[in-house]
């Protein structure tokens, strides 16, 4: 049976500037060019610029739980922000078929003086849900986050784990077609994490999931595909997760002892 394509990333590039002064100079120059409708020539590098993401191709299908591994600064978050529509592309094309929800910082956009319930309305709105849709999902979010007794208390009284559980539950409660989780799986205690893993496996039948983590154990438990990003390029892709992890450990992770990870 043909797999349903949810995300198609084709030859995508993104550049950044290393130097603050040059970054301001290029920024002002871009603003002037936009004002006078002059081509920005985004496909060319200027002084102190570099390709943070270079010629990336990626396809995500329904049922995929794709783990993207890579060292710090390899471009994982930048790529996820481009897919989410937060950063524009300098080259290439991204086609998204369906609704996308991204979880970058699990507690971002939540406010300590407001109750858990009020925060569900605010954060749910950020995911594009309207009042009616949030009301419909409210019971599920409260139950899944296990916050029944505290949902009307101010978020500031919650522990870090409780806030994370709420943030994760809201994101998953939006029922996206593509779910992006960037370093967001350190949720609550061990039993809640296990509950999340089971939930992700269960919802992946109806959607595609991309998650970014440095925790090798989570990759083993969850992923059915693995891609390794190094210096802005994909250097490895496989459905054989354990082999991919070996590749990452041997070629990318700068470790003195292998036992540290395995």
């Amino acid at each position: 049976m043909e797999q349903k394509l949810l995300l198609d990333v084709e030859k995508v590039c993104k550049k950044f500037c290393k130097d603050l002064k040059w970054s301001m100079f290029h920024g002002m120059s871009d603003l002037l060019k936009i004002t006078f409708c002059i081509d920005l020539k985004r496909d060319q590098l200027r002084a102190e610029e570099f390709w943070a993401i270079s010629d990336i191709d990626l396809k995500l299908f329904k049922g995929d739980i794709l783990c993207i591994l890579g060292n710090n600064g390899s471009g994982k978050t930048t790529l996820m922000r481009m897919i989410s529509g937060i950063y524009p592309l300098d080259k290439g094309k991204i086609s998204i078929h369906g609704k996308i929800s991204s979880l970058f910082a699990i507690r971002s956009g939540m406010h300590p003086h407001f109750s858990g319930r009020e925060n569900i309305y605010i954060k749910g709105g950020m995911f594009g849900l309207n009042q009616k849709q949030i009301k419909e999902k409210m019971d599920w979010i409260i139950e899944f986050s296990e916050l029944e007794d505290f949902i009307d208390s101010p978020l500031g009284t919650y522990s870090a784990g409780m806030r994370s559980r709420l943030g994760y539950s809201i994101a998953v409660g939006t029922q996206p077609d593509i779910l992006i989780i960037d370093e967001g799986l350190a949720v609550g205690d061990a039993s809640f994490r296990l509950k999340c893993f089971e939930n992700l496996k269960s919802i992946s039948k109806d959607c595609g999931i991309i998650f970014i983590t440095h925790n090798i154990k989570r990759v083993k438990v969850l992923a059915n595909r693995i891609m390794i990003l190094d210096k802005g390029k994909f250097v490895y892709e496989s459905t054989l997760v354990e082999e991919g992890m070996d590749y990452y450990i041997d070629n990318c992770a700068k470790l003195s002892t292998r036992e540290f990870l395995s």
Partner: protein, 282 residues
Amino acid sequence: MKSIVYTPESNHQKSLADNLRELWSDLRNFRHLLKNLVILSLTKQYKKSILGISWLIISPILSVVVWVLLQASGLFNPGDTPVPYVAFVLLSNSIWMFFISFYHGISDCILGRGGELLQNNFPKIIIVFERIIVSIINFVIPLTLSILVLLLFGARFGWEALFFLPALLPLVFLGIAIGLVFAVIKVVAVDFTVLFDNVIDVLKYLSPVVYSTAVASDLIQDIIKWNPLTYLIDFPRKLLLGEGMDAWELYLLFSLISLALMILAFRFFYLALPWVFEKVTL
């Protein structure tokens, strides 16, 4: 199932009409978030206060007291003003604060909430509209107090006063236009904003805010004659005070220019912000 395609040209291929359609669609699709953010913004500053939201009333009352004391001290000797000077300045100051609240609120909103906007993908224009609505709400309370003080000092209002609020719209448009342009520029570098903050401070004294258009100085008379803000401030103020509709042609001209500037500023915001947005982290 909804499909979206992003390319480097996605933004530039959009016409002005496309930008306005996008603005409308963003506001329609995220209206619930907008409502919640406005409530959040109005209540969060007082959430940890004993007097709570009553500060929304207490702060303007304190301003009234200060101005009344200044008037009693005989500190000012302004031009010929149609109502007692203290009431005149209270009203004019409210109008001026209303105008610059759009500039300050909107120009700060992207840089000030950059972290939140980087982690949550919702249209950035929602934050702009949150600032616009909060500015309007924050204006209504001091305005009501100013009108009460005007009544207290003997002012009586005619039918023209009903058009005071609609007549302020061009000033709102201009404030929004300036705010949107600086919201984008501020993400790249703050130099121009620091400069413009000083320009705005000076502009207050080059516009008929703390004095009337009948001020004695010839130099000031010449400056305010060429200052578009004169007409955008003075026309609605005269409507409220029942002083006729002088210079309505110029008011109309600058109103249309303000509206055009605001529409162009929305286009600039939509076209330019995505390309510089990554710099909010710098």
